[in-house]
Amino acid sequence: MSCLRTLFLAPAALVMVVLILAPLGVVVCYSFLTRGAYGGVEWLATLDNYRRLLDPLYLEIFLRSVAVAGTTTALCLILAFPLAWFLSRAGRRKHLYLQLVLLPFWTSFLVRLYAWMFLLRDTGLINTILLAAGWIREPLPLLYNHVAVVLGLVYGYLPFAVLPLYATLERLDRTLLEAAADLGARPLGTLRHVILPLAAPGIRAAALLVFIPCLGTYLVPDLLGGSKTILVGTLIQNQFTTARDWPFGAAVSLTLMVFTVVAVLIWLRRGGDKLL
């Protein structure tokens, strides 16, 4: 009966409205207001915040964020695919390996980033070993550059890429691979024409799961990049802390969100509405 159905849907609807739509409404509202002198907002409507976004400075930041997120996504896919393939064929140890992939989620991301800093520093583990082995004379500058940032991002988001790929590859019918070989396809041909097309839904899901959070990242560029680059996430964070310009921060956030939603819709549409 439909009133029972409404009753059961009510909690979820409440969560949606209170925890998601209401705060979103506040952000939308703020983005059209003027900043208070010391933070907060003044109730004076303006389009200034959005006009400022057209400044090349902010467009550049935006493009750079897209580039970083794109690079990270590509690297994650390249690394995750063989790993997911191996996992899907692992036989009895499969669940053990899956647990190992998921293990990092049991610890805080921040703690793991600090661990990477300990590894990469001049006096960190990697440099200490290399120096002791005599392979280098001076410590390598592994930290506080773009490579460290991408490394941190790929490390953090790799499990998000592995899991959907694994899910898709695990369901792959092995006889299809035999059929391809039977018809004369060498391993590379089988990969290109059978495995990759059939894994496409998993690849698309993995790409989304990495790209979207990467776009808004600010911890990794701060900690591993030495705060030397500013990405969209850092820009937004700055508006709510040092710059105390909440309306502008809200405008940037909203723009980022709209861009992401549009990009995702286009991406999904190309995939023919099949997500998994």
């Binding site: 019918d173 035999e178 391809a180 070989a181 039977d182 018809l183 004369g184 396809a185 024409h193 059939l198």
Partner: protein, 321 residues
């Protein structure tokens, strides 16, 4: 007889059991050859050994005078029709059928594609996806896909078992036609003896990894070499040391004339099967037999005393097994 495919002493061990045990086979060029046996007899393993999905533990496989047992599946000029058809779900009928042609970069692909589709009567359905086809249509796509690459031998792994009985009979004759028209050697693996007998030029019976008999269908049916072969190819009445097929087992109310073997029996059941009647009777010596009789004999009633008789030349005798 020229053998296009030869298995010499092929053995395959898996951890715990021997699936194929010293198999020797010669498959004649252009023949429709069947490998028949019950489940677990090793027939599918043998097929996979020929296709290259497994490696023999020992023995050799020769194709057209060349050893192929060391080659990868994509290096062997054999093609397989899988039991589940293994059609590529992301490709259309056209994409599936031309897959092998593209991978092997075969010239004149378009012409061969068209011919293959005509042979299996799927012209007009090139743009459909496997999920949009019926079971029979999918089987034909699988067949076309394997035929179009013109293999030396076409391997079929229980290709009709997934179809319903009516469709199965229809597909059987289509399969036979295609084989004749294409002129390619077919090696069919099945557990259905009727299928094997009706389709094949030659039949090999396999049991527990060993070949028990090879020959033309009529020959293995009439002159089975082992009790297994006899019993697998059809029902057998075992009377003492010998066996008699139900269609060779006759009944009469009076004692039969001389020159035939006979035994007294009592009718236990009469089963009407449409075009024939099976009458069960128990011999004086205790064995249960089934006799296939025609309608003109009239009805046999339970408990009726009859004479069971058969011609001696129709006896099946075996040494040992």
């Amino acid at each position: 007889m020229e053998a296009v495919l030869e298995l010499r002493g092929v053995t395959k061990d898996f951890p715990g059991h021997r699936a194929v045990d010293g198999v020797n086979l010669q498959i004649p060029r252009g023949a429709f050859f069947s490998l028949v046996g019950p489940s677990g007899s090793g027939k599918t393993t043998t097929l996979r050994l020929i296709a290259g999905f497994e490696q023999p533990t020992s023995g050799e496989i020769w194709l057209n005078g060349r050893p192929i047992h060391h080659l990868k599946p994509y290096e062997r000029p054999v093609s397989t029709v899988f039991q589940s058809y293994a059609l590529f779900p992301h490709l259309t009928v056209r994409g599936n059928v031309e897959f092998g042609l593209r991978q092997q970069r075969v010239p004149e692909a378009a012409r061969r594609l068209r011919e293959a589709l005509e042979m299996v009567q799927l012209v007009g359905k090139e743009s459909r996806y496997p999920s949009e086809l019926s079971g029979g249509e999918r089987q034909r796509v699988a067949l076309a896909r394997s035929l179009v690459v013109e293999p030396d031998v076409l391997l079929l792994d229980e290709p009709l078992s997934a179809l319903d009985p009516a469709l199965r009979k229809q597909m059987r004759s289509e399969l036979k036609n295609v084989q004749r028209r294409a002129g390619i050697t077919f090696l069919l693996v099945t557990h259905d003896c009727e299928e094997a007998l009706s389709l094949s030029d030659r039949v090999a019976l396999i049991n527990q990894g060993r070949i028990e008999q090879v020959g033309a269908p009529e020959e293995v049916y009439r002159r089975p070499k082992t009790r297994f072969v006899a019993g697998f190819l059809g029902p057998v009445n075992w009377i003492g040391e010998i066996g008699i097929r139900p269609e060779a087992t006759r009944l009469s109310r009076q004692a039969p004339d001389g020159g035939v073997r006979t035994a007294p029996a009592t009718v236990t059941e009469s089963v009407f099967l449409g075009n024939r009647v099976h009458v069960r009777a128990r011999l004086g010596t205790g064995e249960e037999i089934i006799a296939e009789v025609s309608h003109s004999d009239g009805l046999y009633r339970t408990g009726e005393a009859v004479h069971v008789w058969w011609r001696p030349e129709e006896e099946l005798r075996f040494d040992g097994a």
